[in-house]
């Protein structure tokens, strides 16, 4: 199979009903044939953008986005070791994401996770009902650049603040950015509890992470809101 055909096949895998792992042999074949992985990443990114457009248009839905995000993750696991130093790793930040204690809502979190994955970030999704200390220890152990905290229930909001407090008490606050979001989480609340940023929705969360990591600032110094 030639290069163009392989890249087209890679793109098609983002739209068909195949399982996530079924994209792996295609990505492996691209590497085996010595095709520039940057071209493959561009093809995959184009496919992801089209999936996102179809979602916005109401033609595809949340599961389609999640599956496409997982496929992208599998592709990057294969392509990343073959990138020349500094090439293609447009962002490369590591984000730890989760819904805080006492809250089992995951739609918003999953949307944010997908947006960050397809946006080029390495994502560690801790799931829902995550205790404050787990966020902090994961951020420390994995060397996270950003902690992203979701909450939909009012009684779970205090835990977003508790994560920030724990980071301070463990001397980690100046090493990791903290962003917050969710239905009742306003920009004012985010600023009041000492977060670095807030976004109203999943697309905004990606812009927010882009901005705070590209801005050259340090954690706990400024506040960015993407409404």
């Amino acid at each position: 199979m030639g290069k163009e055909e392989l890249l087209a096949r890679l793109k098609q895998k983002f739209f068909d009903e195949s399982y996530e792992d079924e994209i792996v042999p295609v990505a492996q074949e691209i590497v085996a044939q010595g095709i520039d992985v940057l071209e493959a990443i561009q093809a995959a990114s184009e496919a992801i953008r089209q999936v996102g457009d179809a979602y916005e248009a109401g033609e595809l839905f949340l599961p389609d986005l999640m599956i496409a995000g997982e496929k992208m993750k599998r592709c990057m696991d294969i392509f990343r070791p073959h990138l020349k130093a500094g090439a293609g790793e447009a962002k490369g930040g590591k984000v730890v994401l989760g819904t805080v204690s006492g809250d089992i809502h995951d739609i918003g979190k999953n949307l944010v996770g997908t947006m960050l994955t397809v946006g080029g970030y390495e994502l560690i999704d801790l799931g829902v009902d995550v205790p404050p200390l787990e966020f902090v220890t994961t951020a420390r152990d994995k060397g996270a650049d950003v902690l992203a905290l979701s909450a939909l229930m009012t009684a779970s909001l205090p835990y977003q603040q508790e994560v920030i407090q724990l980071l301070k008490e463990t001397g980690l606050r100046e090493k990791v950015f903290v962003i917050v979001g969710g239905g009742p989480v306003t920009a004012e609340f985010a600023q009041r509890i000492g977060a670095d940023g807030w976004a109203e929705n999943a697309a905004g969360a990606l812009k927010l992470v882009d901005r705070i990591l590209a801005g050259g600032g340090k954690p706990a110094q400024t506040f960015v809101a993407i409404g």
Binding site: Y55, G58, F61, L62, P63, D64, M66, I67, S101, G102, D103, I104, H105, D106, I107, N110, D129, M153, T154, A155, S156, P158, Y159, E162, G183, P184, T186
Partner: protein
């Protein structure tokens, strides 16, 4: 109607012995794949008609019910603590629906409220439960509940939610939540006493997202009362249950004479897909919840993920289809939640309420819980006046034809649908109400009167 022990034990056992499924597989394959194939099988794809947001096709509603029954049977409920699927046979599902009452009464001391199954265009007055569990500060809680309970159209109390308990933040899953269960009951009693409506039935425990509120506040001395009040079991999407919910169910059983509300929702654009998928999911989920929780009231209702409300055309169509389907094919007392996006002192909040409540009234909903003012995003953004307006529309539209309702909806929707993404916050209770007299500001009252007049001109029977 006490919770039946054998049925309860069957559910608890199946949460440990049913087929294994991981959440990711459930969300990305089981739910969307099954719903999609059933929509195809029953020829339900692309049936949403935004031009006529209130469904008028009875055959379509009946087809949705058959599809929903098949979806409930094929899918089941995923217990996210054990990652096992609680499955039911078709016979068990039909028996679960059959066992639910077509009529029941709650409340006491002259404040009793009777819930009755309603048909389409049914003149029977529906039940208005207010407000949704929107966060409020402690100093606002009692005056707000008193103000809402003073509204004659309000039948039962559910929210609001307390941000703090004796000045301390309520933290989900912590002992503070156990404490707030009883505290909310005490504050509600005080508010209802002041309003002269002690004995009003309550839905419990709005403040508490986990089971601790129910354990700490229901069936204990001075707390919420079995037989008079209804315990909320709100299942996470899509068709999931948790130990937290099953703990509550067991607590209702332990207290005896307990009543359960089984509720959930489905997002248009979410796991279930478009409006038809969300509709199908809601119907299937409702059948499952009445079976698994032995619910006397409740249902699963659709939201639109784009604006997190259900007062736009697609969501209204889905709402109307879900409740018409349940009305025509079961005898349950189905309840919806209406989710407005705009806040107090905005025309949009009243227009959203007018169209949404009318839709539910003509589509056979027995009851509705609301208002979810400003989408529940801001602390203290809820007032008695929009609760009054929504309740007036809900009750006075009972008996209206769906054709007439569509005409009115198509007049009123253009006044707000372009602003659904803007979600104007409006003003807080403290900014537009006098806390001593519990009267709205002139600005808010005049706006209410103006929009009510506009709605009357459009044909709503509010005169």
């Amino acid at each position: 109607m006490p919770v039946d022990r054998e049925r309860l034990l069957t559910v608890l056992e199946r949460a440990h012995t049913g087929p294994v499924c991981e959440t990711y597989e459930w969300d990305t394959r089981v739910i969307p794949g099954t719903l999609r194939s059933i929509l195809r099988k029953y020829e339900l794809e692309k049936t949403c008609d935004p031009a006529n947001p209130i469904n008028m096709n009875d055959e379509l509603a009946d087809r949705f019910f058959q599809a929903g029954l098949e979806a409930a049977e094929q899918i089941g409920l995923l217990c996210t603590d054990t990652h096992r699927i609680i499955k039911f046979s078709r016979e068990e599902l039909l028996e679960g629906l059959e066992a639910a009452p077509a009529e029941f009464t709650v409340g006491e001391n002259g404040q009793e409220v009777t819930f009755k199954h309603r048909g389409l265009n049914d003149p029977t007055e529906p039940v208005w439960i207010a407000p949704l569990s929107i966060a409020v500060t402690e100093e606002v809680f009692v005056p707000l509940v008193e103000g809402i309970a003073r509204e004659e159209v309000v039948d039962c109390i559910e929210g609001p939610s307390l941000e703090t308990v004796y000045g301390h933040k309520v933290r989900a899953g912590s002992p503070f939540e156990l404490m707030v269960g009883k505290y909310q009951a005490e504050l509600n009693y005080e508010a209802l006493r002041r309003a002269g409506r002690l004995g009003m039935p309550m839905y419990v425990v709005g403040t508490s997202p986990t089971h601790y509120g129910v354990l700490g506040g229901y069936g204990i001395p001075g707390g919420f009362k079995p037989g008079r009040d209804i315990v909320l079991l709100l299942s996470p999407v899509e068709m999931k249950t948790t130990y937290e919910l099953l703990h509550r169910l067991v607590q209702v059983y332990n207290c005896g004479d307990g009543l359960v509300y089984g509720g959930s929702w489905s997002m248009i654009g979410g796991y279930a897909g478009g409006p038809e998928g969300a509709t199908l999911s809601c119907i299937a989920c409702t059948i499952l919840l009445y079976t698994a929780y032995q619910a006397v009231n409740g249902a699963s209702f659709p939201y639109d993920l784009k604006y997190m409300g259900n007062c736009g055309r697609k969501a209204l169509w889905a709402l109307s289809m879900v409740f018409q389907t349940l009305s025509r094919n079961t005898h349950i007392c189905a309840n919806s939640v209406l989710n407005q996006t705009a806040g107090p002192v905005t025309d949009m909040l009243l227009y959203e309420s007018a169209v949404g409540m009318m839709t539910l009234a003509v589509s056979g909903a027995t009851s509705c819980t609301g208002t979810r003012t400003a989408g529940g995003r801001f602390t203290n953004y809820i007032t008695p006046l929009e609760v009054r307006f929504a309740g007036e529309v809900f009750k006075r539209c009972a008996g209206m034809s769906r054709e007439r309702a569509n005409e009115i909806a198509n007049q009123l929707l253009p006044r707000y649908e372009d602003r659904l993404m803007e979600k104007p916050a409006g003003k807080s209770f403290l900014e537009c109400y006098d806390l001593k007299t519990l009267q709205p500001s002139d600005e808010w009252r005049k706006l209410y009167e103006t929009i009510k007049e506009e709605c009357i001109k459009a044909g709503l029977p509010l005169a």
